[in-house]
């Protein structure tokens, strides 16, 4: 060992330079590796957080959906239970009232069908077939929706005005989803006009061809208008200002690629294939309109 230590060249300049280089390279390597690991960890943490957030928002959507379905189903179920109990009571009377019992049972059958309809509409909401795109005439869809909402419109004494362009080309879109969107907007308009008693309740539905962009469907009502501070959230899933009920998403994606949000602005500046909203002064226009690219 002593011999080795005293070997000539052991503490020469070359020896120290060599050692120094070794130390420097080792340090550089260490720093590079550490930085790399840190970056990887950071990326991992960010993606885990993003995933967790996404899952939470999806859970919330599902919760709202489940609550809405439960509400819709509990209504006919409650009617079935009450009518069933009533039928038993009518039969248990000293003189059984068969006519009343029969009427109760008929009501049960009707409520049963209604429950099935609720489930059916929930299923169709998720059905893939609903998303199939085919060439359609927008005006035909609007006509179908207005017919569908006819009873509600009549009972709320809403005057319907249509201004449908006759030069519309066929559009490739999902018929079911488009109907859903328009029906929701019509229902929203009716709801918005319910408190109105001092002026006519007017629903105006129009379709126009926007050159190079698509067809603009506008649904306007003579309601109170959209509060500017609510415009932001309008296309969030289940956004509602109604005190009762859960609004069905009005941001059904028209292109099947997931919900989109868009800036609020004029029709001309809105991007293609998304829903857009016009908000105007009180009592004039509350329109949310759907647009389909072709």
């Amino acid at each position: 060992l002593v011999g080795w230590i005293l070997t000539p060249g052991r503490f020469s300049l070359a020896f120290y330079v060599g050692r120094l280089f070794l130390v420097i390279t080792a340090t550089v390597m260490l720093i590079v590796l550490l930085t790399e690991t840190m970056t990887l960890y950071e990326r991992l943490a960010v993606s885990i957080f993003a995933q967790r957030r996404e899952r939470e928002s999806r859970m919330m959507t599902m919760e709202a959906l489940a609550a809405s379905i439960a509400h819709e189903l509990n209504q006919p179920l409650a009617a079935v239970v009450a009518n069933g109990s009533a039928a038993l009571r009518w039969l248990d009377r000293p003189v059984p009232d068969l006519l009343e019992a029969r009427a109760s049972l008929q009501q049960i059958v009707r409520d049963g069908h209604r429950a099935a309809e609720v489930l059916g509409s929930v299923r169709s909401l998720f059905q893939i077939a609903n998303r199939e795109r085919s060439p359609i005439f927008i005006n035909v869809i609007i006509g179908e929706v207005l017919e569908l909402a006819g009873a509600e419109l009549r009972s709320e004494r809403v005057l319907v005005l249509t201004d449908l362009a006759t030069d519309l080309p066929r559009m490739v879109a999902s018929k079911g989803q488009l109907q859903e969107v328009i029906l929701n907007l019509v229902r929203n308009a009716v709801d918005a006009m319910r408190p109105i008693t001092d002026r006519a309740r007017v629903l105006k539905v129009s379709s126009t061809f926007v050159s190079g962009q698509g067809v603009l469907i506008a649904i306007a009502d003579s309601g109170t208008g959209i509060d500017p501070k609510n415009v932001e959230g309008l296309f969030d899933a289940f956004f509602t200002t109604k005190p009762h009920g859960t609004a069905w998403a009005c941001d059904l994606p028209l292109d099947g690629r997931g919900p989109r949000r868009t800036a609020i602005g004029s029709a001309e500046r809105a991007p293609r294939r998304c829903l857009l909203v016009h908000a105007a002064g009180r009592g004039r226009v509350v329109a949310a309109s759907g647009r389909v690219a072709f």
């Binding site: 509990n74 039928a87 009571r89 009501q107 709801d191």
Partner: protein, 146 residues
């Protein structure tokens, strides 16, 4: 409905009708309110249905109603608002609130406001009867006190 009422008139006769306890039902859902009216009629109450709190307040049944059954979530006036409106105008009627959408917060609020029961749809006949019994009991003691 008219035919059914007409049929039942001779049997339950005018003088009987006057003696029956009057129950009013307010629910915006047509089949739900018809079912409840049917049930209460089968239990020998005189039951009338209203589609909204406003129409109940306007009706002449307001004064004779011994027990009010109202849905919580309705367009316009909610069941809870209807109850507080009655309390505020010193025409308080024992009220049972029903809902298809359970909400702990609203339940606490309702019971605090003096609502007799807060029932979640679908509820059983016995639950409803227990509530209407205590509602009508409340009223009787209330009358005795005043």
């Amino acid at each position: 409905v008219v035919a059914a009422r007409y049929r039942s008139l001779p049997r339950w006769g005018g003088e009987d009708l006057a003696k029956k306890t009057v129950i009013s039902i307010v629910d915006d859902d047509e089949s739900a309110r018809n079912a409840l009216t049917n049930l209460m009629r089968s239990l020998d109450f005189s039951a009338t249905a209203f589609a909204s709190g406003e129409s109940f307040l306007r009706s002449n049944r307001l004064r004779s109603t011994a027990c009010l059954i109202a849905d919580v979530k309705m367009p316009g006036m909610t069941g809870l608002e209807l109850h507080s409106r009655l309390v505020a105008s010193a025409r308080s009627i024992p009220t049972i609130l029903i809902t298809a959408y359970y909400d702990e917060r609203i339940r606490a609020q309702a019971l605090n406001a003096g609502v007799v029961c807060y029932l979640t749809k679908p509820f059983s006949e016995s639950e409803l009867l227990a509530c209407s019994d205590s509602a009508l009991g409340d009223q009787r003691t209330g009358r005795r006190e005043s």
